[in-house]
Subunit: 167 residues, 2 copies
DNA sequence: TTTTATTTTCAAAAAGTTTTGAAAATATAA
DNA sequence: TTATATTTTCAAAACTTTTTGAAAATAAAA
Protein backbone atom coordinates (compact mmCIF):
# COMPACT_ATOMS: atom_id res chain seq x y z
CA UNK A 1 0.00 0.00 0.00
CA UNK A 2 1.37 3.45 -0.85
CA UNK A 3 0.75 6.79 0.83
CA UNK A 4 -2.10 7.89 -1.42
CA UNK A 5 -3.92 4.65 -0.93
CA UNK A 6 -3.43 4.76 2.84
CA UNK A 7 -4.58 8.38 2.99
CA UNK A 8 -7.62 7.56 0.88
CA UNK A 9 -8.59 4.66 3.16
CA UNK A 10 -8.17 6.70 6.31
CA UNK A 11 -10.08 9.71 4.96
CA UNK A 12 -12.97 7.51 3.83
CA UNK A 13 -13.23 5.81 7.21
CA UNK A 14 -13.01 9.12 9.07
CA UNK A 15 -15.96 10.25 6.95
CA UNK A 16 -17.99 7.16 7.89
CA UNK A 17 -17.15 7.67 11.56
CA UNK A 18 -18.18 11.33 11.35
CA UNK A 19 -21.57 10.34 9.90
CA UNK A 20 -22.44 8.20 12.90
CA UNK A 21 -21.57 11.15 15.12
CA UNK A 22 -23.86 13.63 13.40
CA UNK A 23 -21.00 15.26 11.48
CA UNK A 24 -21.44 15.26 7.74
CA UNK A 25 -19.11 13.26 5.57
CA UNK A 26 -17.51 16.17 3.74
CA UNK A 27 -16.78 17.99 6.99
CA UNK A 28 -15.15 14.92 8.53
CA UNK A 29 -13.16 14.23 5.37
CA UNK A 30 -11.89 17.81 5.09
CA UNK A 31 -10.86 17.53 8.71
CA UNK A 32 -8.99 14.27 8.03
CA UNK A 33 -7.36 15.76 4.94
CA UNK A 34 -6.04 18.76 6.87
CA UNK A 35 -5.02 16.63 9.85
CA UNK A 36 -2.88 14.47 7.59
CA UNK A 37 -1.27 17.35 5.76
CA UNK A 38 2.03 18.69 7.10
CA UNK A 39 1.30 22.09 5.51
CA UNK A 40 -1.77 24.25 5.33
CA UNK A 41 -3.93 23.81 2.23
CA UNK A 42 -6.03 26.05 -0.01
CA UNK A 43 -9.68 25.44 -0.81
CA UNK A 44 -8.66 24.36 -4.31
CA UNK A 45 -6.24 21.76 -3.01
CA UNK A 46 -8.90 20.30 -0.70
CA UNK A 47 -11.52 20.34 -3.51
CA UNK A 48 -9.09 18.53 -5.74
CA UNK A 49 -8.00 15.94 -3.20
CA UNK A 50 -11.53 15.08 -2.04
CA UNK A 51 -13.27 15.67 -5.38
CA UNK A 52 -15.87 18.01 -3.94
CA UNK A 53 -17.33 21.29 -5.18
CA UNK A 54 -16.15 24.74 -4.18
CA UNK A 55 -19.37 25.53 -2.33
CA UNK A 56 -19.19 22.34 -0.35
CA UNK A 57 -15.53 22.85 0.54
CA UNK A 58 -16.10 26.45 1.53
CA UNK A 59 -19.13 25.79 3.73
CA UNK A 60 -17.66 22.84 5.56
CA UNK A 61 -14.29 24.49 6.01
CA UNK A 62 -16.09 27.34 7.72
CA UNK A 63 -18.10 24.91 9.84
CA UNK A 64 -14.79 23.41 10.99
CA UNK A 65 -13.50 26.88 11.83
CA UNK A 66 -16.73 27.45 13.76
CA UNK A 67 -16.09 24.25 15.73
CA UNK A 68 -12.60 25.54 16.51
CA UNK A 69 -10.90 22.62 14.76
CA UNK A 70 -9.47 24.44 11.75
CA UNK A 71 -7.79 27.82 11.31
CA UNK A 72 -7.13 30.26 8.48
CA UNK A 73 -3.70 31.45 7.56
CA UNK A 74 -2.59 34.20 5.17
CA UNK A 75 0.68 33.78 3.36
CA UNK A 76 2.67 36.89 2.40
CA UNK A 77 2.45 37.65 -1.28
CA UNK A 78 -0.40 35.17 -1.76
CA UNK A 79 -4.01 36.02 -2.26
CA UNK A 80 -5.42 32.59 -1.46
CA UNK A 81 -6.39 31.64 2.04
CA UNK A 82 -4.69 28.65 3.61
CA UNK A 83 -6.27 26.31 6.14
CA UNK A 84 -4.74 24.04 8.74
CA UNK A 85 -6.12 21.75 11.43
CA UNK A 86 -5.44 21.67 15.13
CA UNK A 87 -3.04 18.73 15.41
CA UNK A 88 -3.03 18.04 19.12
CA UNK A 89 -5.66 15.33 19.45
CA UNK A 90 -6.35 15.99 23.09
CA UNK A 91 -7.20 19.59 22.17
CA UNK A 92 -9.33 18.33 19.27
CA UNK A 93 -11.31 16.09 21.57
CA UNK A 94 -11.79 18.79 24.17
CA UNK A 95 -13.00 21.16 21.48
CA UNK A 96 -15.51 18.60 20.13
CA UNK A 97 -16.73 17.84 23.65
CA UNK A 98 -17.18 21.55 24.33
CA UNK A 99 -19.20 22.11 21.16
CA UNK A 100 -21.36 19.05 21.66
CA UNK A 101 -22.01 20.10 25.22
CA UNK A 102 -23.31 23.43 23.94
CA UNK A 103 -25.44 21.82 21.22
CA UNK A 104 -26.74 18.76 23.09
CA UNK A 105 -26.34 18.73 26.85
CA UNK A 106 -27.60 22.25 27.45
CA UNK A 107 -30.87 21.80 25.47
CA UNK A 108 -31.79 18.50 27.14
CA UNK A 109 -30.96 19.92 30.57
CA UNK A 110 -33.24 22.86 29.81
CA UNK A 111 -36.10 20.52 28.95
CA UNK A 112 -35.48 18.44 32.06
CA UNK A 113 -35.53 21.57 34.20
CA UNK A 114 -38.75 22.66 32.55
CA UNK A 115 -40.61 19.38 33.04
CA UNK A 116 -39.33 19.07 36.61
CA UNK A 117 -41.48 22.05 37.59
CA UNK A 118 -44.62 20.44 36.16
CA UNK A 119 -47.44 19.22 38.38
CA UNK A 120 -47.69 15.55 37.43
CA UNK A 121 -49.91 13.99 40.06
CA UNK A 122 -49.53 10.69 41.87
CA UNK A 123 -50.45 8.23 39.13
CA UNK A 124 -48.05 5.39 38.33
CA UNK A 125 -47.30 7.21 35.08
CA UNK A 126 -46.54 10.47 36.84
CA UNK A 127 -44.28 8.74 39.33
CA UNK A 128 -42.41 6.86 36.64
CA UNK A 129 -41.93 10.07 34.66
CA UNK A 130 -40.45 11.80 37.69
CA UNK A 131 -38.17 8.88 38.48
CA UNK A 132 -36.84 8.48 34.93
CA UNK A 133 -36.29 12.17 34.27
CA UNK A 134 -34.59 12.58 37.65
CA UNK A 135 -32.26 9.66 36.88
CA UNK A 136 -31.41 11.05 33.46
CA UNK A 137 -30.77 14.47 34.90
CA UNK A 138 -28.46 13.01 37.49
CA UNK A 139 -26.41 11.01 34.99
CA UNK A 140 -26.21 13.88 32.51
CA UNK A 141 -25.09 16.24 35.27
CA UNK A 142 -22.28 13.84 36.17
CA UNK A 143 -21.12 13.58 32.58
CA UNK A 144 -21.34 17.30 32.17
CA UNK A 145 -19.10 17.74 35.19
CA UNK A 146 -16.63 15.27 33.72
CA UNK A 147 -16.55 17.19 30.44
CA UNK A 148 -16.05 20.48 32.23
CA UNK A 149 -13.26 18.99 34.26
CA UNK A 150 -11.62 17.56 31.17
CA UNK A 151 -11.90 20.91 29.38
CA UNK A 152 -9.78 22.51 32.05
CA UNK A 153 -7.22 19.74 32.17
CA UNK A 154 -4.33 18.53 30.08
CA UNK A 155 -3.89 15.12 28.58
CA UNK A 156 -1.92 13.95 31.58
CA UNK A 157 -5.04 14.20 33.67
CA UNK A 158 -6.70 11.64 31.47
CA UNK A 159 -3.77 9.25 31.80
CA UNK A 160 -3.88 9.70 35.56
CA UNK A 161 -7.50 8.56 35.72
CA UNK A 162 -6.55 5.43 33.86
CA UNK A 163 -3.70 4.60 36.18
CA UNK A 164 -5.85 5.29 39.24
CA UNK A 165 -8.48 2.97 37.89
CA UNK A 166 -6.23 0.01 37.35
CA UNK A 167 -4.51 0.19 40.74
CA UNK B 1 -47.90 21.75 32.59
CA UNK B 2 -49.62 18.37 32.84
CA UNK B 3 -48.21 14.87 32.40
CA UNK B 4 -49.07 14.50 28.73
CA UNK B 5 -47.47 17.80 27.90
CA UNK B 6 -44.35 16.99 29.91
CA UNK B 7 -44.09 13.56 28.29
CA UNK B 8 -44.53 15.06 24.85
CA UNK B 9 -41.79 17.62 25.46
CA UNK B 10 -39.37 15.05 26.80
CA UNK B 11 -40.05 12.55 24.00
CA UNK B 12 -39.53 15.22 21.34
CA UNK B 13 -36.24 16.34 22.83
CA UNK B 14 -35.04 12.76 23.23
CA UNK B 15 -35.72 12.34 19.52
CA UNK B 16 -33.66 15.43 18.65
CA UNK B 17 -30.83 14.22 20.87
CA UNK B 18 -30.92 10.79 19.23
CA UNK B 19 -30.58 12.37 15.78
CA UNK B 20 -27.31 14.03 16.65
CA UNK B 21 -26.06 10.67 17.88
CA UNK B 22 -26.79 8.79 14.69
CA UNK B 23 -29.97 7.21 16.09
CA UNK B 24 -33.08 7.93 14.10
CA UNK B 25 -35.83 10.00 15.61
CA UNK B 26 -38.48 7.29 15.75
CA UNK B 27 -36.11 4.87 17.44
CA UNK B 28 -35.14 7.42 20.09
CA UNK B 29 -38.78 8.40 20.64
CA UNK B 30 -39.94 4.80 21.01
CA UNK B 31 -37.16 4.33 23.52
CA UNK B 32 -38.26 7.41 25.47
CA UNK B 33 -41.88 6.29 25.34
CA UNK B 34 -41.05 2.86 26.79
CA UNK B 35 -38.65 4.34 29.34
CA UNK B 36 -41.39 6.59 30.67
CA UNK B 37 -44.02 3.88 30.82
CA UNK B 38 -44.42 1.95 34.08
CA UNK B 39 -45.87 -1.01 32.14
CA UNK B 40 -44.88 -2.74 28.96
CA UNK B 41 -46.63 -1.54 25.79
CA UNK B 42 -47.92 -3.09 22.58
CA UNK B 43 -46.94 -1.94 19.11
CA UNK B 44 -50.42 -0.41 18.72
CA UNK B 45 -50.06 1.63 21.89
CA UNK B 46 -46.68 2.98 20.77
CA UNK B 47 -48.02 3.73 17.26
CA UNK B 48 -50.90 5.56 18.80
CA UNK B 49 -48.86 7.56 21.31
CA UNK B 50 -46.19 8.63 18.83
CA UNK B 51 -48.45 8.81 15.76
CA UNK B 52 -46.23 6.61 13.63
CA UNK B 53 -47.03 3.77 11.22
CA UNK B 54 -47.00 0.10 12.06
CA UNK B 55 -43.99 -0.61 9.85
CA UNK B 56 -41.99 2.17 11.42
CA UNK B 57 -42.88 1.07 14.95
CA UNK B 58 -42.11 -2.56 14.20
CA UNK B 59 -38.75 -1.91 12.56
CA UNK B 60 -37.46 0.48 15.18
CA UNK B 61 -38.73 -1.63 18.05
CA UNK B 62 -36.69 -4.46 16.66
CA UNK B 63 -33.67 -2.22 16.24
CA UNK B 64 -33.99 -1.35 19.93
CA UNK B 65 -34.15 -5.05 20.80
CA UNK B 66 -31.07 -5.54 18.65
CA UNK B 67 -29.28 -2.83 20.63
CA UNK B 68 -30.27 -4.64 23.84
CA UNK B 69 -32.27 -1.67 25.12
CA UNK B 70 -35.78 -3.11 24.79
CA UNK B 71 -37.26 -6.54 25.50
CA UNK B 72 -40.28 -8.53 24.43
CA UNK B 73 -42.76 -9.95 26.87
CA UNK B 74 -45.64 -12.34 26.36
CA UNK B 75 -48.67 -12.03 28.56
CA UNK B 76 -50.73 -15.15 29.35
CA UNK B 77 -53.99 -15.25 27.43
CA UNK B 78 -52.87 -12.40 25.16
CA UNK B 79 -51.80 -12.71 21.59
CA UNK B 80 -50.12 -9.35 21.30
CA UNK B 81 -46.46 -8.88 22.10
CA UNK B 82 -45.55 -6.42 24.83
CA UNK B 83 -42.36 -4.37 24.92
CA UNK B 84 -40.51 -2.78 27.79
CA UNK B 85 -37.28 -0.82 28.11
CA UNK B 86 -34.29 -1.45 30.33
CA UNK B 87 -34.81 1.09 33.09
CA UNK B 88 -31.45 1.14 34.80
CA UNK B 89 -29.70 4.03 33.10
CA UNK B 90 -26.22 2.83 33.91
CA UNK B 91 -27.02 -0.43 32.13
CA UNK B 92 -28.53 1.54 29.23
CA UNK B 93 -25.35 3.56 28.86
CA UNK B 94 -23.12 0.52 29.05
CA UNK B 95 -25.21 -1.18 26.41
CA UNK B 96 -25.02 1.83 24.08
CA UNK B 97 -21.26 2.09 24.63
CA UNK B 98 -20.87 -1.59 23.84
CA UNK B 99 -22.86 -1.35 20.61
CA UNK B 100 -21.11 1.80 19.44
CA UNK B 101 -17.77 0.21 20.18
CA UNK B 102 -18.71 -2.65 17.88
CA UNK B 103 -20.00 -0.36 15.15
CA UNK B 104 -17.42 2.44 15.33
CA UNK B 105 -14.26 1.72 17.28
CA UNK B 106 -13.59 -1.70 15.78
CA UNK B 107 -13.86 -0.54 12.12
CA UNK B 108 -11.59 2.49 12.59
CA UNK B 109 -9.07 0.38 14.52
CA UNK B 110 -9.08 -2.11 11.67
CA UNK B 111 -8.31 0.63 9.16
CA UNK B 112 -5.58 2.03 11.39
CA UNK B 113 -4.01 -1.42 11.70
CA UNK B 114 -4.19 -1.84 7.94
CA UNK B 115 -2.54 1.47 7.07
CA UNK B 116 0.10 0.98 9.75
CA UNK B 117 1.58 -1.89 7.75
CA UNK B 118 1.86 0.28 4.63
CA UNK B 119 5.24 1.39 3.27
CA UNK B 120 4.92 5.17 3.30
CA UNK B 121 8.43 6.46 2.70
CA UNK B 122 10.23 9.34 4.34
CA UNK B 123 8.48 12.32 2.79
CA UNK B 124 7.03 14.99 5.08
CA UNK B 125 3.59 13.71 4.07
CA UNK B 126 4.47 10.13 4.92
CA UNK B 127 5.87 11.15 8.28
CA UNK B 128 2.85 13.27 9.14
CA UNK B 129 0.52 10.44 8.19
CA UNK B 130 2.36 8.04 10.48
CA UNK B 131 2.38 10.53 13.35
CA UNK B 132 -1.32 11.42 13.10
CA UNK B 133 -2.56 7.84 12.67
CA UNK B 134 -0.35 6.67 15.55
CA UNK B 135 -1.74 9.43 17.80
CA UNK B 136 -5.31 8.57 16.86
CA UNK B 137 -4.70 4.90 17.46
CA UNK B 138 -3.26 5.64 20.87
CA UNK B 139 -6.16 7.81 21.98
CA UNK B 140 -8.77 5.40 20.61
CA UNK B 141 -7.06 2.51 22.37
CA UNK B 142 -7.26 4.40 25.66
CA UNK B 143 -10.94 5.14 25.22
CA UNK B 144 -11.61 1.61 24.21
CA UNK B 145 -9.94 0.41 27.40
CA UNK B 146 -12.08 2.80 29.41
CA UNK B 147 -15.26 1.48 27.75
CA UNK B 148 -14.25 -2.10 28.38
CA UNK B 149 -13.51 -1.31 31.98
CA UNK B 150 -16.84 0.46 32.39
CA UNK B 151 -18.66 -2.48 30.81
CA UNK B 152 -17.41 -4.74 33.55
CA UNK B 153 -18.15 -2.33 36.37
CA UNK B 154 -21.15 -1.08 38.26
CA UNK B 155 -22.33 2.48 38.60
CA UNK B 156 -20.40 2.91 41.81
CA UNK B 157 -17.18 2.60 39.91
CA UNK B 158 -18.12 5.66 37.92
CA UNK B 159 -18.87 7.66 41.06
CA UNK B 160 -15.54 6.58 42.48
CA UNK B 161 -13.64 8.02 39.53
CA UNK B 162 -15.38 11.32 40.07
CA UNK B 163 -14.50 11.48 43.74
CA UNK B 164 -10.90 10.48 43.01
CA UNK B 165 -10.66 13.24 40.46
CA UNK B 166 -11.82 16.01 42.70
CA UNK B 167 -9.66 15.10 45.70
C1' DT C 1 -10.57 53.72 -11.97
C1' DT C 2 -10.99 48.75 -14.26
C1' DT C 3 -9.52 44.10 -14.25
C1' DT C 4 -8.59 39.83 -12.18
C1' DA C 5 -8.48 36.57 -8.33
C1' DT C 6 -10.83 34.66 -4.68
C1' DT C 7 -14.50 33.75 -1.51
C1' DT C 8 -19.29 33.47 -0.36
C1' DT C 9 -24.02 32.57 -1.10
C1' DC C 10 -27.97 30.03 -2.13
C1' DA C 11 -31.56 27.95 -5.29
C1' DA C 12 -31.97 23.83 -7.43
C1' DA C 13 -30.50 19.02 -8.10
C1' DA C 14 -28.87 14.88 -6.26
C1' DA C 15 -28.32 11.72 -2.78
C1' DG C 16 -29.57 9.70 1.38
C1' DT C 17 -32.82 8.44 5.06
C1' DT C 18 -37.09 7.59 7.11
C1' DT C 19 -41.83 6.53 6.93
C1' DT C 20 -45.87 4.68 5.15
C1' DG C 21 -49.22 1.25 4.14
C1' DA C 22 -50.73 -2.62 2.11
C1' DA C 23 -49.60 -7.37 1.02
C1' DA C 24 -47.30 -11.52 2.61
C1' DA C 25 -46.00 -14.34 6.27
C1' DT C 26 -46.75 -16.25 10.65
C1' DA C 27 -49.14 -17.71 14.66
C1' DT C 28 -53.12 -18.75 17.38
C1' DA C 29 -58.02 -19.85 17.96
C1' DA C 30 -62.18 -21.97 16.55
C1' DT D 1 -59.03 -27.77 8.62
C1' DT D 2 -60.48 -22.44 8.06
C1' DA D 3 -60.86 -17.96 10.11
C1' DT D 4 -58.86 -14.33 12.65
C1' DA D 5 -55.20 -11.77 14.91
C1' DT D 6 -50.71 -10.20 14.73
C1' DT D 7 -46.22 -9.36 12.98
C1' DT D 8 -43.05 -8.66 9.27
C1' DT D 9 -41.51 -7.07 4.91
C1' DC D 10 -40.40 -3.88 1.44
C1' DA D 11 -41.40 -0.86 -2.70
C1' DA D 12 -42.80 3.55 -3.18
C1' DA D 13 -43.57 8.16 -1.24
C1' DA D 14 -42.26 11.73 1.77
C1' DC D 15 -38.91 14.03 3.92
C1' DT D 16 -34.19 15.62 5.09
C1' DT D 17 -29.59 16.59 4.16
C1' DT D 18 -25.87 17.36 1.29
C1' DT D 19 -23.82 18.87 -2.81
C1' DT D 20 -23.37 21.40 -6.87
C1' DG D 21 -22.34 25.25 -9.70
C1' DA D 22 -23.01 29.57 -11.26
C1' DA D 23 -23.87 34.30 -9.91
C1' DA D 24 -22.96 37.87 -6.49
C1' DA D 25 -19.90 39.86 -3.33
C1' DT D 26 -15.43 40.99 -1.80
C1' DA D 27 -10.68 42.00 -2.07
C1' DA D 28 -6.36 42.91 -4.25
C1' DA D 29 -3.66 44.26 -8.31
C1' DA D 30 -2.97 46.86 -12.39
Amino acid sequence: MDLDEAKYKFIQEWGVLGSSWGINRAMAQIHACLLLSPDSKTTDEVMDELKISRGNANMNMRALIDWGLVFKEFKPGERKEYFYAEKDLWTVMKQIAKERRKREIIPIKDVLAEVSTAELGDSAEGKEFKKVTKDIDSIITKFDGLIEMASKSDQNWFLKILSKLVK
